[in-house]
Protein backbone atom coordinates (compact mmCIF):
# COMPACT_ATOMS: atom_id res chain seq x y z
CA UNK A 1 0.00 0.00 0.00
CA UNK A 2 1.26 3.41 -0.83
CA UNK A 3 0.90 6.29 1.56
CA UNK A 4 2.30 9.67 1.02
CA UNK A 5 2.34 12.92 2.94
CA UNK A 6 -0.77 13.47 5.01
CA UNK A 7 -3.23 10.93 3.61
CA UNK A 8 -5.41 9.56 6.43
CA UNK A 9 -5.46 5.79 6.83
CA UNK A 10 -7.93 4.20 9.17
CA UNK A 11 -6.34 2.18 11.95
CA UNK A 12 -8.22 -0.87 13.25
CA UNK A 13 -7.28 -1.59 16.85
CA UNK A 14 -6.82 -5.18 18.02
CA UNK A 15 -10.07 -6.62 19.44
CA UNK A 16 -9.57 -8.09 22.91
CA UNK A 17 -12.40 -10.60 23.31
CA UNK A 18 -11.20 -11.95 26.66
CA UNK A 19 -11.22 -8.45 28.09
CA UNK A 20 -14.86 -8.00 27.20
CA UNK A 21 -15.69 -11.29 28.93
CA UNK A 22 -13.77 -10.08 31.97
CA UNK A 23 -15.70 -6.83 32.05
CA UNK A 24 -19.00 -8.68 31.77
CA UNK A 25 -18.12 -10.99 34.68
CA UNK A 26 -17.05 -8.03 36.75
CA UNK A 27 -20.28 -6.20 36.00
CA UNK A 28 -22.27 -9.24 37.06
CA UNK A 29 -20.31 -9.53 40.29
CA UNK A 30 -20.78 -5.83 41.09
CA UNK A 31 -24.49 -6.11 40.42
CA UNK A 32 -24.74 -9.04 42.82
CA UNK A 33 -22.77 -7.15 45.45
CA UNK A 34 -24.92 -4.03 45.15
CA UNK A 35 -28.05 -6.17 45.28
CA UNK A 36 -27.06 -7.94 48.46
CA UNK A 37 -25.94 -4.72 50.13
CA UNK A 38 -29.22 -2.96 49.36
CA UNK A 39 -31.63 -5.91 49.57
CA UNK A 40 -34.33 -6.23 52.21
CA UNK A 41 -35.23 -9.25 54.28
CA UNK A 42 -38.58 -9.95 55.93
CA UNK A 43 -38.85 -9.53 59.69
CA UNK A 44 -42.05 -11.45 60.38
CA UNK A 45 -43.81 -14.00 58.25
CA UNK A 46 -46.88 -16.09 58.87
CA UNK A 47 -48.03 -19.27 57.19
CA UNK A 48 -51.62 -19.07 56.08
CA UNK A 49 -53.40 -21.44 53.71
CA UNK A 50 -50.16 -23.02 52.55
CA UNK A 51 -48.41 -19.79 51.59
CA UNK A 52 -46.08 -17.51 53.49
CA UNK A 53 -47.23 -13.96 54.15
CA UNK A 54 -44.45 -11.62 55.13
CA UNK A 55 -45.25 -8.20 56.44
CA UNK A 56 -42.31 -6.24 57.78
CA UNK A 57 -39.22 -5.84 55.64
CA UNK A 58 -35.87 -4.52 56.79
CA UNK A 59 -32.55 -3.77 55.08
CA UNK A 60 -30.28 -6.79 55.26
CA UNK A 61 -27.42 -4.45 56.21
CA UNK A 62 -29.61 -2.46 58.60
CA UNK A 63 -29.11 0.82 56.76
CA UNK A 64 -31.85 2.55 58.74
CA UNK A 65 -29.94 1.72 61.92
CA UNK A 66 -26.65 2.85 60.35
CA UNK A 67 -28.07 6.22 59.37
CA UNK A 68 -30.03 6.63 62.55
CA UNK A 69 -26.90 6.42 64.68
CA UNK A 70 -24.46 7.87 62.12
CA UNK A 71 -24.27 11.28 63.75
CA UNK A 72 -25.38 10.13 67.18
CA UNK A 73 -23.79 12.13 70.02
CA UNK A 74 -22.06 9.09 71.53
CA UNK A 75 -20.66 8.07 68.12
CA UNK A 76 -19.35 11.55 67.37
CA UNK A 77 -17.80 11.79 70.83
CA UNK A 78 -16.11 8.43 70.21
CA UNK A 79 -14.91 9.61 66.81
CA UNK A 80 -13.32 12.68 68.42
CA UNK A 81 -11.53 10.43 70.93
CA UNK A 82 -10.28 8.26 68.06
CA UNK A 83 -8.98 11.32 66.21
CA UNK A 84 -7.36 12.71 69.37
CA UNK A 85 -5.66 9.41 70.06
CA UNK A 86 -4.44 9.17 66.47
CA UNK A 87 -3.03 12.70 66.41
CA UNK A 88 -1.42 12.59 69.86
CA UNK A 89 0.04 9.11 69.43
CA UNK A 90 1.45 10.07 66.03
CA UNK A 91 3.01 13.24 67.46
CA UNK A 92 4.63 11.22 70.25
CA UNK A 93 5.66 8.56 67.74
CA UNK A 94 7.11 10.94 65.16
CA UNK A 95 9.10 13.00 67.68
CA UNK A 96 10.39 9.85 69.38
CA UNK A 97 11.07 8.21 66.04
CA UNK A 98 13.18 11.10 64.74
CA UNK A 99 15.16 11.35 67.99
CA UNK A 100 15.72 7.59 68.17
CA UNK A 101 16.74 7.35 64.50
CA UNK A 102 19.31 10.11 64.96
CA UNK A 103 20.57 8.44 68.14
CA UNK A 104 20.80 5.16 66.27
CA UNK A 105 23.06 6.73 63.62
CA UNK A 106 25.13 8.65 66.19
CA UNK A 107 28.85 7.99 66.53
CA UNK A 108 28.27 7.51 70.26
CA UNK A 109 27.97 3.84 71.19
CA UNK A 110 25.91 4.76 74.24
CA UNK A 111 23.26 6.59 72.20
CA UNK A 112 23.06 4.02 69.42
CA UNK A 113 22.81 1.13 71.88
CA UNK A 114 20.07 2.90 73.83
CA UNK A 115 18.15 3.53 70.62
CA UNK A 116 18.58 -0.04 69.49
CA UNK A 117 17.30 -1.42 72.83
CA UNK A 118 14.22 0.78 72.73
CA UNK A 119 13.32 -0.33 69.20
CA UNK A 120 14.01 -3.92 70.12
CA UNK A 121 11.66 -3.88 73.13
CA UNK A 122 8.78 -1.89 71.67
CA UNK A 123 8.79 -3.46 68.23
CA UNK A 124 9.19 -6.92 69.65
CA UNK A 125 6.02 -7.02 71.75
CA UNK A 126 2.40 -6.82 70.58
CA UNK A 127 0.85 -3.38 70.71
CA UNK A 128 -2.23 -4.87 72.43
CA UNK A 129 -0.01 -6.11 75.27
CA UNK A 130 1.64 -2.71 75.51
CA UNK A 131 -1.74 -0.98 75.77
CA UNK A 132 -2.74 -3.29 78.63
CA UNK A 133 0.70 -2.79 80.22
CA UNK A 134 0.41 1.01 80.38
CA UNK A 135 -3.21 0.72 81.41
CA UNK A 136 -2.25 -1.32 84.44
CA UNK A 137 1.14 0.32 85.12
CA UNK A 138 -0.17 1.26 88.56
CA UNK A 139 0.16 -2.40 89.58
CA UNK A 140 3.92 -2.20 89.05
CA UNK A 141 4.53 1.34 90.25
CA UNK A 142 1.68 2.57 92.45
CA UNK A 143 3.54 5.84 93.06
CA UNK A 144 5.70 7.94 90.77
CA UNK A 145 8.17 10.36 92.33
CA UNK A 146 11.10 12.61 91.58
CA UNK A 147 13.72 12.77 94.31
CA UNK A 148 17.04 11.35 95.46
CA UNK A 149 17.40 7.76 94.23
CA UNK A 150 17.31 4.94 96.80
CA UNK A 151 16.01 7.27 99.56
CA UNK A 152 12.59 8.47 100.60
CA UNK A 153 13.40 12.11 99.91
CA UNK A 154 10.89 13.23 97.26
CA UNK A 155 10.44 16.48 95.42
CA UNK A 156 7.32 15.28 93.64
CA UNK A 157 5.29 12.25 94.65
CA UNK A 158 1.94 11.14 93.21
CA UNK A 159 -0.28 8.20 92.37
CA UNK A 160 0.61 6.56 89.06
CA UNK A 161 -3.04 6.15 88.13
CA UNK A 162 -3.60 9.91 88.49
CA UNK A 163 -1.33 10.34 85.46
CA UNK A 164 -2.00 7.10 83.62
CA UNK A 165 -5.72 7.55 83.34
CA UNK A 166 -6.95 5.29 80.50
CA UNK A 167 -6.69 7.99 77.80
CA UNK A 168 -3.12 8.95 78.75
CA UNK A 169 -2.08 5.33 79.08
CA UNK A 170 -3.46 4.74 75.58
CA UNK A 171 -1.50 7.70 74.14
CA UNK A 172 1.66 6.49 75.90
CA UNK A 173 1.25 2.93 74.66
CA UNK A 174 0.39 3.82 71.05
CA UNK A 175 3.00 6.61 70.91
CA UNK A 176 5.84 4.52 72.32
CA UNK A 177 5.00 1.64 70.01
CA UNK A 178 4.77 3.95 67.01
CA UNK A 179 8.09 5.60 67.94
CA UNK A 180 9.86 2.27 67.57
CA UNK A 181 8.44 1.69 64.08
CA UNK A 182 8.79 5.28 63.02
CA UNK A 183 12.47 5.40 64.00
CA UNK A 184 13.11 2.68 61.44
CA UNK A 185 11.27 4.68 58.78
CA UNK A 186 13.30 7.79 59.60
CA UNK A 187 16.51 5.79 59.68
CA UNK A 188 15.91 4.37 56.22
CA UNK A 189 15.15 7.91 55.01
CA UNK A 190 18.37 9.29 56.47
CA UNK A 191 20.42 6.46 54.99
CA UNK A 192 18.83 7.02 51.58
CA UNK A 193 20.26 10.54 51.29
CA UNK A 194 23.41 10.53 49.15
CA UNK A 195 26.59 10.74 51.20
CA UNK A 196 27.86 13.48 48.90
CA UNK A 197 25.21 15.79 50.37
CA UNK A 198 26.66 15.31 53.85
CA UNK A 199 30.18 15.78 52.56
CA UNK A 200 29.29 19.01 50.79
CA UNK A 201 27.62 20.36 53.93
CA UNK A 202 30.57 19.27 56.05
CA UNK A 203 33.01 20.95 53.70
CA UNK A 204 31.11 24.22 54.14
CA UNK A 205 31.90 23.95 57.85
CA UNK A 206 28.46 22.81 59.00
CA UNK A 207 28.32 20.83 62.23
CA UNK A 208 26.67 17.43 62.24
CA UNK A 209 23.42 18.85 63.59
CA UNK A 210 23.39 21.74 61.09
CA UNK A 211 23.95 19.25 58.28
CA UNK A 212 21.13 17.12 59.59
CA UNK A 213 18.66 19.98 59.92
CA UNK A 214 19.45 21.89 56.72
CA UNK A 215 20.39 19.20 54.27
CA UNK A 216 19.80 15.59 55.27
CA UNK A 217 16.43 15.63 57.05
CA UNK A 218 14.63 17.74 54.41
CA UNK A 219 15.79 15.31 51.74
CA UNK A 220 15.02 12.28 53.87
CA UNK A 221 11.43 13.59 54.17
CA UNK A 222 10.76 12.53 50.59
CA UNK A 223 11.45 8.95 51.59
CA UNK A 224 9.81 9.28 55.02
CA UNK A 225 6.47 10.84 54.03
CA UNK A 226 4.86 7.99 52.05
CA UNK A 227 5.26 5.38 54.83
CA UNK A 228 4.23 8.04 57.37
CA UNK A 229 0.88 8.41 55.66
CA UNK A 230 0.62 4.67 55.88
CA UNK A 231 1.45 4.79 59.59
CA UNK A 232 -1.17 7.47 60.30
CA UNK A 233 -3.87 5.43 58.59
CA UNK A 234 -2.69 2.33 60.39
CA UNK A 235 -2.71 4.23 63.71
CA UNK A 236 -6.27 5.43 63.08
CA UNK A 237 -7.37 1.81 63.08
CA UNK A 238 -5.00 0.55 65.79
CA UNK A 239 -6.53 3.03 68.23
CA UNK A 240 -9.59 0.75 68.29
CA UNK A 241 -7.58 -1.61 70.55
CA UNK A 242 -7.81 0.88 73.43
CA UNK A 243 -11.26 -0.47 74.18
CA UNK A 244 -9.25 -3.00 76.19
CA UNK A 245 -8.43 -0.38 78.83
CA UNK A 246 -11.90 1.19 78.83
CA UNK A 247 -11.25 4.17 76.59
CA UNK A 248 -14.47 4.99 74.75
CA UNK A 249 -13.31 5.67 71.20
CA UNK A 250 -15.36 5.23 68.01
CA UNK A 251 -15.42 1.45 68.35
CA UNK A 252 -16.12 1.75 72.09
CA UNK A 253 -19.08 4.02 71.39
CA UNK A 254 -20.70 1.71 68.84
CA UNK A 255 -20.04 -1.24 71.14
CA UNK A 256 -21.91 0.55 73.91
CA UNK A 257 -24.79 1.18 71.53
CA UNK A 258 -25.12 -2.39 70.23
CA UNK A 259 -24.88 -3.74 73.75
CA UNK A 260 -28.23 -2.02 74.26
CA UNK A 261 -29.87 -2.45 70.84
CA UNK A 262 -28.33 -5.83 69.88
CA UNK A 263 -27.92 -4.46 66.35
CA UNK A 264 -24.29 -5.54 66.04
CA UNK A 265 -23.67 -5.54 62.28
CA UNK A 266 -25.21 -2.13 61.50
CA UNK A 267 -23.10 -0.57 64.24
CA UNK A 268 -19.92 -2.18 62.93
CA UNK A 269 -20.80 -0.98 59.42
CA UNK A 270 -21.33 2.49 60.85
CA UNK A 271 -17.91 2.47 62.53
CA UNK A 272 -16.27 1.13 59.35
CA UNK A 273 -17.83 3.92 57.31
CA UNK A 274 -16.41 6.52 59.67
CA UNK A 275 -12.96 4.88 59.59
CA UNK A 276 -13.14 4.86 55.77
CA UNK A 277 -14.14 8.52 55.60
CA UNK A 278 -11.26 9.63 57.83
CA UNK A 279 -8.67 7.43 56.11
CA UNK A 280 -9.78 8.74 52.71
CA UNK A 281 -9.27 12.31 53.88
CA UNK A 282 -5.84 11.31 55.24
CA UNK A 283 -4.84 9.75 51.90
CA UNK A 284 -5.68 12.97 50.10
CA UNK A 285 -3.57 14.91 52.58
CA UNK A 286 -0.73 12.47 52.08
CA UNK A 287 -0.74 13.04 48.32
CA UNK A 288 -0.28 16.79 48.67
CA UNK A 289 2.35 16.38 51.38
CA UNK A 290 4.37 14.07 49.13
CA UNK A 291 4.11 16.57 46.31
CA UNK A 292 5.41 19.32 48.58
CA UNK A 293 8.43 17.38 49.83
CA UNK A 294 9.19 16.07 46.34
CA UNK A 295 10.01 19.57 45.10
CA UNK A 296 13.55 19.79 43.82
CA UNK A 297 13.76 16.04 43.37
CA UNK A 298 11.66 15.88 40.21
CA UNK A 299 11.84 18.21 37.27
CA UNK A 300 8.08 18.28 37.00
CA UNK A 301 5.89 17.35 39.96
CA UNK A 302 3.14 14.77 39.33
CA UNK A 303 -0.26 16.29 38.51
CA UNK A 304 -2.85 16.61 41.27
CA UNK A 305 -5.99 14.48 40.74
CA UNK A 306 -7.90 17.64 39.72
CA UNK A 307 -5.21 18.51 37.17
CA UNK A 308 -5.28 14.93 35.90
CA UNK A 309 -9.08 14.90 35.49
CA UNK A 310 -8.89 18.20 33.62
CA UNK A 311 -6.17 16.87 31.36
CA UNK A 312 -8.12 13.68 30.65
CA UNK A 313 -11.28 15.64 29.86
CA UNK A 314 -9.32 17.87 27.52
CA UNK A 315 -7.90 14.74 25.88
CA UNK A 316 -11.33 13.21 25.36
CA UNK A 317 -12.72 16.47 24.02
CA UNK A 318 -9.95 16.86 21.48
CA UNK A 319 -10.32 13.23 20.45
CA UNK A 320 -13.95 13.80 19.50
CA UNK A 321 -13.15 17.03 17.74
CA UNK A 322 -10.70 15.37 15.35
CA UNK A 323 -11.85 12.85 12.80
CA UNK A 324 -11.57 9.18 13.58
CA UNK A 325 -8.39 7.83 12.02
CA UNK A 326 -4.77 8.66 12.32
CA UNK A 327 -2.84 11.04 10.14
CA UNK A 328 -0.03 8.98 8.71
CA UNK A 329 3.28 10.73 8.94
CA UNK A 330 2.17 13.30 11.51
CA UNK A 331 1.61 13.15 15.22
CA UNK A 332 -1.10 15.17 16.82
Amino acid sequence: METNGDAAVEVVPVRHVSRWVGWALLALFVAMLVHTIFSKIPLSCTLAKGTWHCSKYNWRFGWNQVFHYFTNGQVLKGLVVTLELTVLAMIVGIVLGIVVAIMRLSHSRLLSAAAWSYTWAFRGTPVYVQILFWGFIGDLYPYLSIGIPFTHVYLVHFHAISVFIPFNAAVAALGLNEGAYFSEIVRSGLIAVDEGQTEAATSLGMTRSQTLRNVVLPQAMRVIIPPTGNEVISMLKTTSLVVAIAVIDLLGAVTNIYNQTYQIMPMLILASLWYLIVSTILSIGQFYLERFFGRGALRTPPPTPIQRIRRDLRGIASKYRTKRGVQVGTTS
Binding site: S203, V215, G296, A297
Partner: protein
Amino acid sequence: MVEAIGVHKSYADIEVLRGINVNVARGEVTCLIGPSGSGKSTFLRCINHLEKHDAGELRVDGELVGYELRGDKLHELTDRRICNERAQIGMVFQRFNLFQNLNVLENITVGPVKVKGVDEKQANKSARELLERVGLEGKEKNYPTQLSGGQQQRVAIARALAMEPKLMLFDEPTSALDPELVGEVLDVMKDLARSGMTMIVVTHEMGFAKEVADTVYFLDQGVIEESGDPKIVLTSPSSPRLQSFLSKVL
Protein backbone atom coordinates in the same frame (compact mmCIF):
# COMPACT_ATOMS: atom_id res chain seq x y z
CA MET B 1 49.39 28.05 52.43
CA VAL B 2 49.37 24.25 52.47
CA GLU B 3 52.32 22.31 53.79
CA ALA B 4 52.41 18.52 53.92
CA ILE B 5 55.34 16.58 55.32
CA GLY B 6 55.26 12.80 55.18
CA VAL B 7 51.45 12.45 55.23
CA HIS B 8 50.29 8.87 55.60
CA LYS B 9 46.80 7.39 55.39
CA SER B 10 45.56 3.81 55.48
CA TYR B 11 42.16 2.22 55.07
CA ALA B 12 42.13 -1.01 57.06
CA ASP B 13 45.31 -2.67 55.75
CA ILE B 14 45.65 -0.74 52.50
CA GLU B 15 48.09 2.15 52.64
CA VAL B 16 46.68 4.85 50.35
CA LEU B 17 49.11 7.65 51.14
CA ARG B 18 52.69 6.68 51.83
CA GLY B 19 54.41 9.90 52.78
CA ILE B 20 53.19 12.85 50.76
CA ASN B 21 55.25 16.03 50.72
CA VAL B 22 53.55 19.01 49.15
CA ASN B 23 54.08 22.73 49.48
CA VAL B 24 51.60 25.21 48.12
CA ALA B 25 52.29 28.92 48.36
CA ARG B 26 49.57 31.58 48.72
CA GLY B 27 48.00 32.50 45.39
CA GLU B 28 49.42 29.44 43.66
CA VAL B 29 47.53 26.95 41.54
CA THR B 30 48.60 23.36 42.11
CA CYS B 31 47.43 20.40 40.09
CA LEU B 32 47.50 16.84 41.37
CA ILE B 33 47.52 14.28 38.58
CA GLY B 34 47.88 10.54 38.54
CA PRO B 35 46.05 7.30 37.79
CA SER B 36 42.90 6.44 39.73
CA GLY B 37 43.66 4.89 43.08
CA SER B 38 46.91 6.83 43.35
CA GLY B 39 45.64 8.68 46.44
CA LYS B 40 45.27 12.17 45.00
CA SER B 41 41.61 12.56 46.01
CA THR B 42 42.33 11.10 49.45
CA PHE B 43 45.11 13.61 50.00
CA LEU B 44 42.83 16.45 48.91
CA ARG B 45 40.18 15.28 51.39
CA CYS B 46 42.78 15.16 54.16
CA ILE B 47 43.45 18.87 53.66
CA ASN B 48 39.97 19.82 54.91
CA HIS B 49 39.81 16.86 57.29
CA LEU B 50 37.05 15.01 55.43
CA GLU B 51 39.54 12.18 55.91
CA LYS B 52 41.81 11.89 58.91
CA HIS B 53 45.48 11.32 58.09
CA ASP B 54 47.29 8.82 60.30
CA ALA B 55 50.78 10.20 60.37
CA GLY B 56 52.81 13.14 59.17
CA GLU B 57 52.33 16.84 59.41
CA LEU B 58 49.66 18.70 57.48
CA ARG B 59 49.34 22.45 57.90
CA VAL B 60 46.98 24.95 56.30
CA ASP B 61 48.01 28.56 56.73
CA GLY B 62 50.49 27.47 59.40
CA GLU B 63 47.83 25.67 61.49
CA LEU B 64 47.84 21.90 61.89
CA VAL B 65 44.78 20.28 60.29
CA GLY B 66 42.57 18.60 62.90
CA TYR B 67 45.12 18.74 65.70
CA GLU B 68 46.68 21.18 68.09
CA LEU B 69 50.18 21.00 69.48
CA ARG B 70 50.09 21.50 73.25
CA GLY B 71 53.42 20.87 74.95
CA ASP B 72 54.84 17.89 73.09
CA LYS B 73 51.50 16.18 72.44
CA LEU B 74 49.06 16.45 69.54
CA HIS B 75 45.53 17.00 70.78
CA GLU B 76 42.60 16.24 68.50
CA LEU B 77 40.46 19.30 67.91
CA THR B 78 36.84 19.42 69.00
CA ASP B 79 34.23 19.08 66.24
CA ARG B 80 33.41 22.74 66.43
CA ARG B 81 36.99 23.82 65.82
CA ILE B 82 37.37 21.39 62.93
CA CYS B 83 34.21 22.93 61.44
CA ASN B 84 35.79 26.36 61.83
CA GLU B 85 38.86 25.20 59.95
CA ARG B 86 36.73 23.68 57.18
CA ALA B 87 34.66 26.83 56.78
CA GLN B 88 37.79 28.58 55.53
CA ILE B 89 38.47 25.99 52.84
CA GLY B 90 36.20 25.69 49.82
CA MET B 91 35.67 22.35 48.16
CA VAL B 92 34.23 21.39 44.78
CA PHE B 93 33.30 17.78 44.16
CA GLN B 94 33.33 15.55 41.10
CA ARG B 95 29.60 14.93 41.39
CA PHE B 96 28.74 18.56 42.28
CA ASN B 97 26.81 17.55 45.42
CA LEU B 98 24.49 20.53 45.25
CA PHE B 99 21.85 20.38 47.97
CA GLN B 100 18.89 18.82 46.17
CA ASN B 101 16.32 20.29 48.54
CA LEU B 102 17.45 23.88 48.02
CA ASN B 103 17.26 26.12 44.98
CA VAL B 104 20.36 27.67 43.44
CA LEU B 105 20.28 30.82 45.55
CA GLU B 106 19.69 28.88 48.78
CA ASN B 107 22.52 26.50 47.90
CA ILE B 108 24.88 29.44 47.82
CA THR B 109 23.54 31.28 50.88
CA VAL B 110 23.05 28.36 53.25
CA GLY B 111 26.75 28.24 54.18
CA PRO B 112 27.27 31.94 54.94
CA VAL B 113 23.92 32.23 56.75
CA LYS B 114 24.03 29.06 58.86
CA VAL B 115 27.77 28.74 59.45
CA LYS B 116 29.08 32.30 59.48
CA GLY B 117 25.87 33.96 60.65
CA VAL B 118 25.80 36.39 57.73
CA ASP B 119 22.63 38.47 57.41
CA GLU B 120 20.29 36.84 54.85
CA LYS B 121 19.87 39.98 52.74
CA GLN B 122 23.61 40.46 52.55
CA ALA B 123 24.09 36.77 51.68
CA ASN B 124 21.50 36.99 48.90
CA LYS B 125 23.23 40.04 47.47
CA SER B 126 26.66 38.41 47.38
CA ALA B 127 25.13 35.18 46.06
CA ARG B 128 23.69 37.07 43.09
CA GLU B 129 27.09 38.64 42.45
CA LEU B 130 28.72 35.22 42.54
CA LEU B 131 26.10 33.80 40.16
CA GLU B 132 26.89 36.59 37.75
CA ARG B 133 30.57 35.80 38.12
CA VAL B 134 30.02 32.17 37.11
CA GLY B 135 27.65 33.24 34.33
CA LEU B 136 24.40 31.96 35.80
CA GLU B 137 22.39 35.07 36.56
CA GLY B 138 18.66 34.41 36.38
CA LYS B 139 18.95 30.79 37.63
CA GLU B 140 18.38 31.74 41.30
CA LYS B 141 15.05 29.93 41.66
CA ASN B 142 15.98 26.77 39.77
CA TYR B 143 16.55 23.51 41.57
CA PRO B 144 19.78 21.59 40.88
CA THR B 145 18.00 18.86 38.88
CA GLN B 146 16.82 21.50 36.43
CA LEU B 147 20.39 22.48 35.52
CA SER B 148 22.96 20.85 33.25
CA GLY B 149 26.05 19.30 34.78
CA GLY B 150 28.23 22.24 33.80
CA GLN B 151 25.76 24.69 35.31
CA GLN B 152 25.54 22.64 38.50
CA GLN B 153 29.31 22.59 38.86
CA ARG B 154 29.46 26.36 38.38
CA VAL B 155 26.85 26.77 41.12
CA ALA B 156 28.97 24.47 43.30
CA ILE B 157 31.96 26.73 42.73
CA ALA B 158 29.85 29.76 43.63
CA ARG B 159 28.65 27.97 46.76
CA ALA B 160 32.22 27.33 47.86
CA LEU B 161 33.28 30.90 47.06
CA ALA B 162 30.38 32.31 49.10
CA MET B 163 32.25 31.26 52.24
CA GLU B 164 35.12 33.55 51.18
CA PRO B 165 37.65 30.74 51.54
CA LYS B 166 41.39 31.27 51.66
CA LEU B 167 41.93 28.03 49.77
CA MET B 168 39.90 26.16 47.16
CA LEU B 169 40.06 22.42 46.65
CA PHE B 170 38.77 20.85 43.43
CA ASP B 171 38.23 17.09 43.29
CA GLU B 172 38.09 16.14 39.60
CA PRO B 173 35.62 18.96 38.91
CA THR B 174 35.12 18.11 35.23
CA SER B 175 35.24 14.31 35.30
CA ALA B 176 31.47 13.86 35.51
CA LEU B 177 30.73 16.32 32.69
CA ASP B 178 29.92 15.86 29.04
CA PRO B 179 32.92 16.93 26.94
CA GLU B 180 31.20 20.03 25.59
CA LEU B 181 30.42 21.22 29.16
CA VAL B 182 33.98 20.90 30.46
CA GLY B 183 35.06 24.20 28.94
CA GLU B 184 32.56 26.39 30.81
CA VAL B 185 33.71 25.01 34.16
CA LEU B 186 37.40 25.31 33.32
CA ASP B 187 36.81 28.91 32.24
CA VAL B 188 35.39 29.76 35.64
CA MET B 189 38.35 28.07 37.30
CA LYS B 190 40.85 29.92 35.13
CA ASP B 191 39.12 33.15 36.02
CA LEU B 192 39.40 32.25 39.68
CA ALA B 193 43.09 31.43 39.31
CA ARG B 194 43.73 34.82 37.71
CA SER B 195 42.03 36.53 40.64
CA GLY B 196 44.76 35.17 42.89
CA MET B 197 42.91 32.35 44.67
CA THR B 198 45.05 29.57 46.09
CA MET B 199 43.82 26.41 44.40
CA ILE B 200 44.60 22.71 44.60
CA VAL B 201 43.04 20.83 41.71
CA VAL B 202 42.86 17.08 41.24
CA THR B 203 42.34 16.74 37.51
CA HIS B 204 42.78 14.74 34.35
CA GLU B 205 42.69 17.90 32.23
CA MET B 206 46.34 18.13 31.21
CA GLY B 207 45.66 21.19 29.06
CA PHE B 208 44.30 23.05 32.08
CA ALA B 209 47.27 21.96 34.21
CA LYS B 210 49.73 23.13 31.59
CA GLU B 211 48.00 26.45 31.09
CA VAL B 212 47.04 27.44 34.63
CA ALA B 213 49.06 25.50 37.20
CA ASP B 214 52.17 26.88 38.84
CA THR B 215 53.16 23.46 40.08
CA VAL B 216 52.01 19.98 39.17
CA TYR B 217 52.43 16.86 41.31
CA PHE B 218 52.24 13.41 39.81
CA LEU B 219 51.04 10.84 42.37
CA ASP B 220 51.35 7.11 41.90
CA GLN B 221 50.61 4.41 44.48
CA GLY B 222 50.49 6.87 47.36
CA VAL B 223 53.74 8.69 46.71
CA ILE B 224 54.72 11.70 44.66
CA GLU B 225 56.67 10.41 41.72
CA GLU B 226 57.46 13.71 40.11
CA SER B 227 56.67 17.37 40.60
CA GLY B 228 57.56 20.78 39.27
CA ASP B 229 56.71 23.32 36.59
CA PRO B 230 53.92 21.81 34.45
CA LYS B 231 55.54 23.02 31.23
CA ILE B 232 58.58 20.90 32.02
CA VAL B 233 56.98 18.00 33.90
CA LEU B 234 54.16 17.43 31.41
CA THR B 235 56.22 17.86 28.24
CA SER B 236 59.42 16.09 29.16
CA PRO B 237 58.72 13.85 32.14
CA SER B 238 61.72 12.12 33.64
CA SER B 239 60.05 9.20 35.46
CA PRO B 240 58.94 6.28 33.30
CA ARG B 241 55.68 6.02 35.24
CA LEU B 242 54.69 9.56 34.34
CA GLN B 243 55.78 8.97 30.77
CA SER B 244 53.48 5.98 30.46
CA PHE B 245 50.63 7.79 32.28
CA LEU B 246 50.84 10.80 29.99
CA SER B 247 50.94 8.63 26.91
CA LYS B 248 47.60 7.14 27.98
CA VAL B 249 45.92 10.41 28.98
CA LEU B 250 47.00 12.69 26.18
